[in-house]
C-alpha cells in the first residue's frame, strides 16, 4: 500500500509539473511575444498569419505591425509559416473555429473555396476607401461575384530571368521570338551551358513553362476560356504547348532530373548562380530572394526579360502571368473592425509597402520608389502588361490545379503525351464542374 501511495504521489507531482509548464508556457508566450506594447484601453489581440518567411520581408511586416500597434493600441501576434505547413495549419484551424483574425491568401480559387464556405469576411464596402491606391488587377483576383474578399499587399509576375554576363560573353541577344530563342539555346548548349534552370519537385515551376507556352500560342485568355467552358482543355493549343514542352526536354534545355530538384532548397538557383544555366522562368519573388542570397549576382548578372512570343501564336510578349498576395479577414474573428484596419494598413502603409520594395518585392501600391535595376525592370513589365493572367494553380479549383501540376510534371518527365495530359485535365474538369 505504501508503494501505491508513493506512485500516486509521483503521478500527481508529474501532473502538477505538466500543468505548471503548460501555464508558464502560455504565460511566457504572452510576455515574450510582444515587444513594448502595453495598452491602457483593453488591448484586444489580433492574430496575423503570413508566409513571408524570408528574413528581409519578415522584418518588414514586423515593423509595420509595430507601427500599427502603436497607432491603434491593439496587440498583434504574428505567426509565420511557409506554404505547406501554412495551408495545413490554416485548414485545421478554420475547421474548428480557431482561425486567425487576419491571414495571407493567394486569391483565386484557393480563396474562393474559403469564401464559398462563408469563412471569409466580405470587405467590398470597406475597400472602397483605399482601393484606388492599389493595383486594380490585383484586387480583381480577390473578387468573386462582385464581392471583394481580400486586399492585396504584394503583387507578383513571372519574368524570364537571364544571366547578362553569360549573354554578353557569348554575344547573345535577348530573344523576343521563339526562333531567336532556339538560336540562343543552341549556342548555349554548344558551350556546355544548360539553357534553363528548373527545379520541379514542387511542380509549379515547370507548369509555368506550360502556361506561358499556352498563352503565347492560344492567346492570353486561353485559360479563362477553358475554365468557363468556352473551349476544352483538349484544345489544340494545349496539345501544341505540351508537345513543345516535351521537345524542350528532348533538346536538353532543362537539367537532367529536374523533376526531383527542389526549388525551395535552391537546387535550381545554385545552378543559375554558378553559371551552369543561363536562364530561369520564375516569379518576381526571385528578385528578393536573389538579393538576399547572392548580392553580387544580383548586382552584376541578374536581368529580366519576358517569355518570347511564338510565331503564329495569338499571344503577345507583353501578356503576363501574374499573381498577388493578399490578406483576408476570417469570419470567425472577434474583432472584425480592427482586423480590416490591419488589412488596410498592410496594403497601403508606406512603411510596409516601401519596405517590401527595398527588400526586392513588388508591393501592391502603384506609386513606389525603387532603387535597383532588376526590381525596376520587374515593375515596368507589370505596368506595361497587356494582360494579367492570375497564376493558374491559384485560379483553378484546388483539385484541378493539382491535376494541372501533375500533368505538367509528367510532360516534363516524358511519362505522358500531351494528348493524354489534355485528356486527363478535361476529364477531371467535366467531373467536377
Amino acid at each position: 500500500m505504501r508503494k501505491f501511495k508513493k506512485m500516486a504521489a509521483l503521478l500527481m507531482a508529474g501532473m502538477m509539473i505538466l500543468s505548471a509548464n503548460g501555464c508558464s508556457g502560455n504565460g511566457a508566450g504572452n510576455d515574450e511575444e510582444e515587444s513594448a506594447v502595453t495598452k491602457e484601453e483593453g488591448g484586444n489581440k489580433l492574430q496575423l498569419w503570413h508566409i513571408q518567411t524570408a528574413e528581409n520581408r519578415k522584418k518588414v511586416i514586423e515593423e509595420g505591425v509595430k507601427e500599427f500597434s502603436e497607432k491603434y493600441g491593439v496587440e498583434v501576434e504574428i505567426t509565420v509559416l511557409e506554404n505547406d505547413p501554412f495551408k495545413t495549419k490554416l485548414r485545421t484551424a478554420m475547421g474548428s473555429g480557431d482561425a486567425p483574425d487576419v491571414f495571407h491568401s493567394w486569391g483565386g480559387g484557393w480563396l474562393k473555396a474559403f469564401a464559398d464556405e462563408g469563412l471569409v469576411v466580405d470587405i467590398t464596402e470597406d475597400i472602397e476607401v483605399w482601393k484606388d491606391q492599389l493595383n486594380e488587377a490585383a484586387i480583381g483576383m480577390n473578387t468573386f461575384d462582385g464581392k471583394v474578399y481580400g486586399s492585396p499587399y504584394m503583387t507578383a509576375l513571372t519574368p524570364l530571368y537571364y544571366n547578362k554576363a553569360i549573354f554578353e560573353e557569348h554575344g547573345l541577344e535577348v530573344p523576343t521570338t521563339w526562333a531567336e530563342m532556339e538560336t540562343v539555346c543552341e549556342t548555349l548548349k554548344k558551350n556546355g551551358i544548360i539553357p534553363f534552370a528548373l527545379a520541379n519537385s514542387t511542380k509549379w515551376p515547370g507548369a509555368q513553362h506550360f502556361v506561358m507556352l499556352s498563352m503565347r500560342i492560344g492567346g492570353a485568355d486561353i485559360f479563362q476560356k477553358a475554365i468557363s467552358g468556352e473551349i476544352s482543355f483538349e484544345d489544340e493549343t494545349f496539345i501544341k504547348a505540351g508537345d513543345m514542352l516535351r521537345n524542350m526536354v528532348d533538346d536538353g534545355w532543362f537539367p537532367e532530373g529536374a523533376n526531383a530538384l527542389n526549388w525551395d532548397t535552391g537546387d535550381s538557383r545554385q545552378m543559375f548562380y554558378a553559371g551552369q544555366c543561363a536562364m530561369i522562368l520564375q516569379t518576381s519573388g526571385f528578385i528578393s530572394t536573389c538579393l538576399s542570397e547572392n548580392e553580387e549576382f544580383y548586382n552584376n548578372n541578374l536581368a529580366l526579360a519576358s517569355y518570347p512570343a511564338i510565331e503564329g501564336g495569338k499571344g503577345e510578349i507583353t501578356d503576363m502571368l501574374a499573381g498577388e498576395n493578399a490578406f483576408s479577414v476570417s469570419a470567425d474573428s472577434d474583432n472584425v473592425e480592427m482586423s480590416i484596419k490591419l488589412v488596410e494598413f498592410l496594403s497601403t502603409s508606406k512603411t510596409v509597402q516601401q519596405g517590401f520594395a527595398d527588400a526586392g518585392a513588388i508591393g501592391a501600391r502603384t506609386d513606389l520608389n525603387v532603387s535597383t535595376k532588376p526590381l525596376q525592370q520587374g515593375m515596368d513589365q507589370l505596368s506595361n502588361a497587356t494582360y494579367l493572367q492570375n497564376f493558374i494553380d491559384q485560379t483553378l479549383s484546388p483539385e484541378l490545379a493539382e491535376k494541372h501540376k501533375d500533368t505538367c510534371q509528367a510532360l516534363l518527365g516524358k511519362t505522358m503525351t500531351s494528348e493524354e495530359a489534355a485528356k486527363e485535365m478535361q476529364k477531371l474538369y467535366e467531373s467536377i464542374e
Binding site: 505547406d84 495551408k87 495545413t88 485548414r91 478554420m94 475547421g95 473555396a113 474559403f114 464556405e117 462563408g118 469563412l119 519537385s201 514542387t202 511542380k203 537539367p255 537532367e256 532530373g257 529536374a258 523533376n259 526531383a260 530538384l261 527542389n262 532548397t265 537546387d267 545554385q270 545552378m271 554558378a274 551552369q276 484546388p398 483539385e399 493539382e402 501533375d406 510534371q409 509528367a410 518527365g413 511519362t415 505522358m416
Partner: protein, 306 residues
C-alpha cells in the same frame, strides 16, 4: 497451485492496471480511428464543419478500389516492407554483433552508428537531397571523380528513385534495429556461450544455433515494428520527392496527405487511411499467425483461484 491466504478483488486489480492505458487509448486512438472511418463516408473537402458534409456511404471505397495511383502506392509500400525487414534487420543484426564484440573504440562506434536515428527526418531528407543533387551533389561529384561520366539524377529518374529513397530510409532506421537487437543480445547470459565454447562450438555455430533462436522474440518484435512502420511510412518520401517524379515514388500515406491537404478531398483521403489501417491489420495478423508463439509463452497467468 499455491493459494494465497489473502484475497483481493481480481477485477479491481485488472482494472487498476489497465485503466490508464485504456483511458488514453480510448480517448485518442480509438476516437481518432473511428472519426477517420466516419470521415471516409463523407464527401467532405476538409474545410468548414464536417457536420454539414454529405454522407456517401462506401462510395469513396469503391472509387479507391479502381484507383490506379493508390495501388501503385500500395505496391511501393510492399517494396518498402520487404526491403526494410531484410536490410534493416539484417544489417542491424550485423551492427549489433559488431558493437557487442570486443573491439577498440567501441564506445565511439556505438555513438556513431546511432547518429542517423538522432537526426530528425527533415534534417535527413534535406541533407540527402543535397547530396543527391544530380549536378552539384556530393555523391555525383565523387562518382565523377571516380570516372563515371553520367551519374544518374537519383531522385529525378524513375529507374533510380526508389533505390535512392530506400537507401536513405535504411540509413536512417537501421540503427534503431541495431539497438533493439543488441538489447536482446544482452539478455543472453555469458555462461551460455562459455558452455558452448567449452563444448567445441565455433562462433558461427553459436550464432546460428544459439543467438538467433534466443533472439527470436526480439526479431519478431522488430519485424512487426518494421512492417507496420513501412506500411504507414510517410516522412522521408514526402520530404525528398513528394511522391514524385509524377507519383512514381508515392506511398499510401503520401497519397493520403495529398488528397487531404492539397486536393481538398478529406473524405476520400480518410478512406485511403481507413484502407491503410485495414491492410496493416491483415498483414500483421497473417504475420503473427505464421510466427505463432504467443500461447507458448512460459509466463503463467494468475487467475481468480490463485
Amino acid at each position: 497451485m499455491i493459494r494465497s491466504k489473502r484475497k483481493w478483488s481480481n477485477r479491481g486489480t485488472v482494472l487498476l492496471f489497465l485503466l490508464p492505458a485504456l483511458v488514453i487509448y480510448g480517448l485518442y486512438n480509438v476516437y481518432g480511428i473511428i472519426m477517420t472511418f466516419y470521415f471516409s463516408t463523407l464527401d467532405w473537402p476538409g474545410m468548414g464543419p464536417y457536420q454539414k458534409a454529405a454522407g456517401v456511404g462506401l462510395t469513396n471505397y469503391f472509387k479507391l478500389f479502381s484507383d490506379k495511383e493508390f495501388w501503385h502506392a500500395a505496391s511501393n509500400n510492399l517494396l518498402l516492407v520487404i526491403v526494410s525487414v531484410v536490410v534493416q534487420l539484417g544489417l542491424g543484426m550485423i551492427l549489433a554483433l559488431i558493437i557487442n564484440s570486443k573491439i577498440k573504440g567501441i564506445k565511439l562506434l556505438r555513438t556513431i552508428y546511432f547518429m542517423p536515428m538522432l537526426l530528425s527526418t527533415v534534417a535527413t531528407g534535406i541533407l540527402w537531397q543535397l547530396m543527391l543533387h544530380p549536378y552539384n551533389g556530393l555523391i555525383n561529384n565523387v562518382l565523377r571523380a571516380l570516372g563515371i561520366h553520367n551519374p544518374p539524377a537519383w531522385l529525378g529518374t524513375e529507374s533510380t528513385v526508389m533505390f535512392a529513397l530506400l537507401f536513405v530510409v535504411c540509413w536512417q532506421y537501421t540503427p534503431q534495429y541495431m539497438i533493439l537487437l543488441r538489447a536482446g543480445m544482452t539478455g543472453i547470459p555469458e555462461e551460455v556461450y562459455e558452455a558452448a565454447t567449452i563444448d567445441g562450438a565455433s562462433k558461427w555455430q553459436q550464432f546460428w544455433s544459439m543467438t538467433l533462436p534466443l533472439l527470436s522474440g526480439t526479431l519478431k518484435t522488430s519485424a512487426v515494428l518494421s512492417i507496420v512502420g513501412s506500411l504507414k511510412y510517410f516522412d522521408l518520401f514526402w520530404i525528398m520527392t513528394g511522391g514524385g517524379p509524377n507519383g512514381y515514388s508515392e506511398l499510401m500515406a503520401t497519397y493520403m496527405y495529398k488528397k487531404a491537404f492539397n486536393q481538398e478531398q478529406m473524405g476520400y483521403a480518410s478512406s485511403v487511411a481507413g484502407s491503410m489501417f485495414l491492410i496493416s491489420m491483415v498483414v500483421v495478423f497473417i504475420f503473427m499467425r505464421v510466427t505463432r508463439r504467443r500461447d507458448e509463452g512460459k509466463g503463467g497467468r494468475l487467475n481468480e483461484n490463485c
